[in-house]
C-alpha cells in the first residue's frame, strides 16, 4: 500500500484519482455505496455496505476499498479505475504482489487462497501443512514475500509450539 487517500465523513465524499477519474462514497438510507467515475461515466461499483469503508491508493490506477467489521473481520475490493474493473469482496486480504496483481486472502471455508486479479482465473488454495491451532488462518502467518516473478514464500506458525515454517507456492497461470 503506497498511500492513504484522506477523506472526511459526509453524505458524499469524492476522492480524485488520475485526471478524469474519481471514487465517491455516498451514504444513502443508512447504507454506503461506492461510485467510480471514469471516462466521463459514473457507475455504482459497491452498494449496500452497513458501515463506511476506507479507501487506499495502491498506484495511480489501482486502489482498494476495505470494509472493517472487527478484528480480524474485513472485506476488501480492488478497483482498476482505468478499466472500470472491480473484484471482491475478499475476506481478510493479506498481501498484494503488485507485479502480478496477485493477492492472498481467506476463502469462505477459512483456508488461505491466492488469486490473480482481473484475469478471470479461479482462485487457488494454498495449503499450510501442520498449521498451529488458530481461529483464523492468517493469524498464523508471520510473513509473505515474493522472491521471484512467479513464486510466493509464506512464513507461518506450525505445530502446538508455534514454530516458524516456510513454504513456497506459485501463482496460478492461464491454461
Amino acid at each position: 500500500m503506497k498511500a492513504f487517500l484522506p477523506y472526511v465523513l459526509f453524505l458524499s465524499v469524492s476522492v480524485a484519482l488520475v485526471a478524469g477519474q474519481s471514487v465517491t462514497i455516498k451514504k444513502e438510507n443508512k447504507q454506503y455505496s461506492v461510485y467510480l467515475t471514469a471516462k466521463g461515466k459514473t457507475s455504482a461499483i459497491i452498494q449496500g455496505l452497513p458501515k463506511e469503508p476506507s479507501i487506499s491508493e495502491i498506484n495511480d490506477k489501482l486502489f482498494r476499498i476495505t470494509l472493517s467489521l472487527g478484528s480480524p473481520d474485513s472485506y476488501t475490493y480492488f478497483v482498476d479505475s482505468s478499466g472500470g474493473l472491480v473484484e471482491g469482496p475478499f475476506f481478510l486480504f493479506q498481501k498484494l504482489d503488485e507485479k502480478n496483481l496477485g493477492i492472498l486472502y481467506v476463502g469462505s471455508d477459512g483456508k488461505l487462497m491466492g488469486k490473480l486479479l482481473f484475469k478471470g482465473l479461479d482462485p487457488v488454495l494454498f495449503d499450510l501443512p501442520d498449521i498451529s491451532p488458530v481461529a483464523v488462518v492468517t493469524n498464523a502467518i508471520t510473513n509473505i514475500d515474493f522472491p521471484s516473478d512467479t513464486s510466493i514464500r509464506i512464513t507461518y506458525y506450525s505445530g502446538s509450539q508455534y514454530t516458524e515454517k516456510q513454504i513456497a507456492v506459485r501463482w496460478p497461470r492461464p491454461k
Partner: protein
C-alpha cells in the same frame, strides 16, 4: 491493604497487619492512616502531609518530595496514544464498556499464542489486524492528531478525552481483564446486515474456526444493547 502507587506491593505485604512506617527516601509514610508523618520538605501543594495530594490513583511519589502525575506521564507516551486512538477508531461510538473490552483484546494478545512475537501493545496494534490503525480511519486519525498535539484533557475533544480516561486503567493494568481473555471480536449487526443484503456474497458470521473459540460477550459487564460487538476467547 492500602494501595500505594509506585511501590512494590511486597514491601507492604511484609508489614505486620498492615502496620508500620515506610521510608520514602526523604520522609516516613504510615499506610494505616494514608499520610506522611512529617511535612513535605518541598512544601508542595496545600496539604504537606497528604500522599500524592490525596490522588493516589493518578499520581505517585517515589521520592517523598514531589507527586508525579503518573497518568499524565503515561497519557503522553506514543504507545498509549496509539492504543487509545486505535480503540477509539474501533469503538469510539460505542459504550465505555465496549471500549474497555477492545482495549483488553489488544492487551490479551501481547506475547500470547500466535501473537507470541508481538511483545508490546504497539506491535500488536501494528501487526495483528486492527483496521482503525492499518486503514488510518477518520476516527483513528482524529484521535491520534489530538493526543499527539498535547491537547489531551483540554476539553477540545470531549469524546477522545473521555476515551483516554476510560482506557488508562486498562492500559496501565490497574483494571482487571473484563473479557475473560478475549482476543477476537466482530460486529454481528453489521455482519448480518451485509449478509442480508447479499446472501451469496457475505457469510452470516466471519469465516473463523469457531470450534476453537468460546463467546465471552455476555460475561462482559456494562455492555449496552447498542454495542455492536461479539467477543471471543480461545477455549
Amino acid at each position: 491493604m492500602m494501595c500505594v502507587p509506585g511501590l512494590d506491593a511486597s514491601i507492604l505485604d511484609g508489614l505486620p497487619n498492615g502496620e508500620g512506617q515506610l521510608y520514602f527516601n526523604s520522609r516516613y509514610y504510615d499506610p494505616t492512616i494514608g499520610r506522611f508523618l512529617t511535612e513535605d520538605p518541598s512544601r508542595h501543594g496545600v496539604n504537606w502531609y497528604a500522599y500524592c495530594e490525596n490522588d493516589p490513583i493518578n499520581k505517585t511519589d517515589p521520592t517523598g518530595r514531589l507527586p508525579v502525575d503518573y497518568v499524565a506521564d503515561v497519557a503522553n507516551t506514543y504507545a498509549f496514544q496509539l492504543f487509545a486512538s486505535t480503540v477509539y477508531g474501533e469503538a469510539g461510538a460505542s459504550s465505555e464498556a465496549a471500549q474497555k473490552a477492545v482495549g483488553h483484546v489488544i492487551e490479551n494478545r501481547v506475547g500470547q499464542r500466535e501473537w507470541k512475537a508481538l511483545d508490546t501493545v504497539s506491535k500488536v496494534i501494528e501487526k495483528s489486524g486492527f483496521d482503525a490503525y492499518s486503514q488510518q480511519t477518520e476516527q483513528f486519525t482524529q484521535a491520534m492528531k489530538y493526543l499527539s498535539s498535547g491537547k489531551a484533557g483540554s476539553g477540545q475533544n470531549k469524546s477522545v478525552d473521555a476515551a483516554v480516561q476510560n482506557l488508562l486503567p486498562v492500559y496501565t493494568g490497574r483494571e482487571a481483564d473484563t473479557t475473560k481473555g478475549s482476543t477476537l471480536y466482530y460486529s454481528p449487526a453489521a455482519q448480518a446486515a451485509l449478509h442480508a443484503s447479499q446472501l451469496q456474497t457475505y457469510p452470516e458470521t466471519p469465516s473463523w474456526n469457531f470450534g476453537t473459540l468460546k463467546e465471552t460477550t455476555s460475561s462482559i459487564p456494562n455492555l449496552k444493547s447498542t454495542d455492536d460487538f461479539k467477543f471471543y476467547a480461545y477455549k
